[in-house]
């Protein structure tokens, strides 16, 4: 399951592959599963659940803007920078995979518009989307891959919610990497009591699995955060509490409906020199266990 989800082709707005995997995996365990107009997958247990678990299911990527002269030129979305792309492999929905080239001397000076992929005979058109080829691998202690950070939440949530008992809903949000669009659309029509987001983060100082006291914008609800901390203590799960620089879209949750309690679980992700991202298996396991127990206590 972990390899399947990590390798799924799911750039923002084209998450069909991730959706299929999730629906297939969840359908026997939930009372209701549906896909809304933004492409979010929503799964519910029980009647009118008040607790929501959220994670993103899309990846940053590139959109082709020109395919003349046997070269693919592209724009990037979801925060990808030239340095993330140069010499990396990009894979497209039809399976075509090409390496990103830059003809300049200093890669620090590169702009996205300077980069290209040699097209050859592949059929790729303007408007097509590509993602970094995941190249997932694992050893005894960790998972490795390109674009793994954005899948960290999905990996933890898709495991934890299978086993957890209680009345709760899960939002596998679409278009999270282009401004939390799926989250915002869902919240525009929902009324919740509390929500827990799960996502990867870069933070060398903290490391491990963390309970988020504040993301880059929003302060988490103290009672909900403390409830998670109590779960961690009682279950002897090794987690810290942290203030993170990344936007988990806490603000959108807090201000939705009549106000929603919100906190998040962050999973430490370490960037490798070759651009791959590493997640320790123990961190993912801790996040999954914390979430599973929290659902049972809070729902």
């Amino acid at each position: 399951m972990i390899e399947k989800i990590t390798n799924a082709f799911s750039p923002s707005g084209h998450e069909d592959e991730a959706r299929q995997i999730l629906v297939e995996s969840l359908k026997s365990r939930f009372d209701e599963i549906y896909i809304d107009n933004l492409g979010n997958v929503i799964a519910k247990k029980g009647e009118n659940p008040k607790l929501l678990i959220e994670c993103g299911m899309d990846s940053p990527g590139v959109m082709v803007v020109d395919s003349s002269d046997d070269k693919l030129c592209f724009s990037a979305f979801g925060g990808l920078k030239p340095k993330d792309l140069i010499d990396k492999k990009i894979v497209f929905e039809n399976g075509f995979c090409g390496e990103v080239k830059y003809d300049g001397e200093k890669s620090d000076d590169a702009k996205i518009s300077d980069l290209y992929i040699e097209l050859g005979i592949a059929e790729i058109s303007v408007g097509d989307f590509g993602i970094l080829k995941p190249e997932f691998s694992e050893d005894a202690d960790c998972y490795l891959g390109y674009g793994l950070k954005v899948k960290a939440g999905l990996l933890a949530v898709s495991q934890a919610v299978l086993e957890a008992d209680g009345d709760f809903a899960v939002l596998f949000s679409a278009q999270k990497r282009i401004g939390g669009k799926g989250i915002k659309a869902f919240l525009n029509a929902s009324s919740l009591e509390s929500a827990i987001s799960v996502d990867g983060f870069y933070d060398k100082e903290t490391g491990g699995t963390v309970i988020v006291a504040k993301d880059s914008i929003a302060v988490a609800s103290v009672d909900l955060r403390k409830a998670l901390e109590d779960v961690a203590i009682s279950q002897k799960i090794d987690v810290n509490t942290a203030v993170l620089d990344e936007n988990f879209f806490g603000s959108s949750f807090l201000t939705s409906g009549k106000g929603t309690d919100w906190t998040a679980i962050g999973i430490s992700t370490e960037a490798q020199e070759d651009g791959r991202e590493k997640i320790l298996k123990k961190d993912l396991k801790n996040a999954t266990k914390l979430l599973e127990t929290a659902i049972e206590k809070l729902s």
């Binding site: 923002s12 707005g13 084209h14 809304d36 107009n37 933004l38 979010n40 959109m63 082709v64 803007v65 020109d66 003349s68 002269d69 030129c73 724009s75 990037a76 979305f77 518009s113 303007v126 408007g127 989307f129 278009q175 282009i178 669009k181 799926g182 915002k184 659309a185 869902f186 525009n188 029509a189 929902s190």
Partner: protein, 339 residues
Amino acid sequence: MLKKITEAFGVSGCEKEIRDIIIEEIKKSGAELSIDNMGDLVAFKKAKKENAKTVLLSAHMDEVGFIVTDITEDGYLKFETVGGIDSRILISKRVKVNGRCGVIGLKPVHLTSKEERKKTPGTRELFVDIGAKDREDAESVVTKGDYFGFDSEYIEFGEMIKAKALDDRLGCAIMIDILKKEWNVNLVCAFNVQEEVGLRGAKIAAKGVKPDFALVIEGTTCNDLPNVPQNLRVTKVGGGAAISVLDSASKADSDVCDMLIKAAEKRSIPWQYKASTAGGNDAGVISLLDGGIKTASISVPCRYIHSPVSVMHKADFESCKGIVEGFLEDCGKEQTEND
């Protein structure tokens, strides 16, 4: 009609003049009209059959412009821009201030040093001369906080049209024409305010409509200029209406994009993708309303957009209108076939 509505005044937050013109144009269309507290004009035209799909068309009435921040002792106006305007295009342009001619001035070349000529003056260094002899005279025409806009005549040259505010009066013009026809869909046309200052009006106008599909009709960037490489051109004038896939405000719904492309190809109407992820429009807020609305954008490429000399190709305008009309026909037929 394009002449009339592009020459009308309607800087963001001050859209009464253009709204009144649109109301005059559509009041006999049979649509039910309403104006919300922000000033959005919404026209609803019910399908002539039951169980029809509901389609929201959306275009914005407002245009980029200026607001007066101060009046000098000498009677010149200091100003800020309203919406995105590149200060490099401002020098020596004509503006209209409460009906009176004004020009954005700069000191003469004879008195300017080489160094000064290398720099582009920022908006705060510029001023508007409305021919007033002093502050008191200027204050008889204008007060601080008044809006004003570019003064630019609508001109057709060859197959092209030059005008101010093509973004997005062209969308308004298409919706006006569409409202004058009968459709097998419940048609909601939202003429929005304040798009240029943060997509504000659409959020109110489209809330609660809950359409099956929404189309935003726009003017969009076109960079098919000399010495610009193909991958930075975004759109091509004369290449047909541009269908957006992804921009900084929204990811277009793939189903609605496919329907637009089918509507175009079935009718042999030229179209192109908007080949850039830059920019954004009201689709960014409409697509998120009420739990998510299947939304896409279709645009007419406009060179020199957000300037008084925006240029579009007549055929691209017709392409955009034809594809939107084809989309509505197909939505109506689909429903008829399902009945």
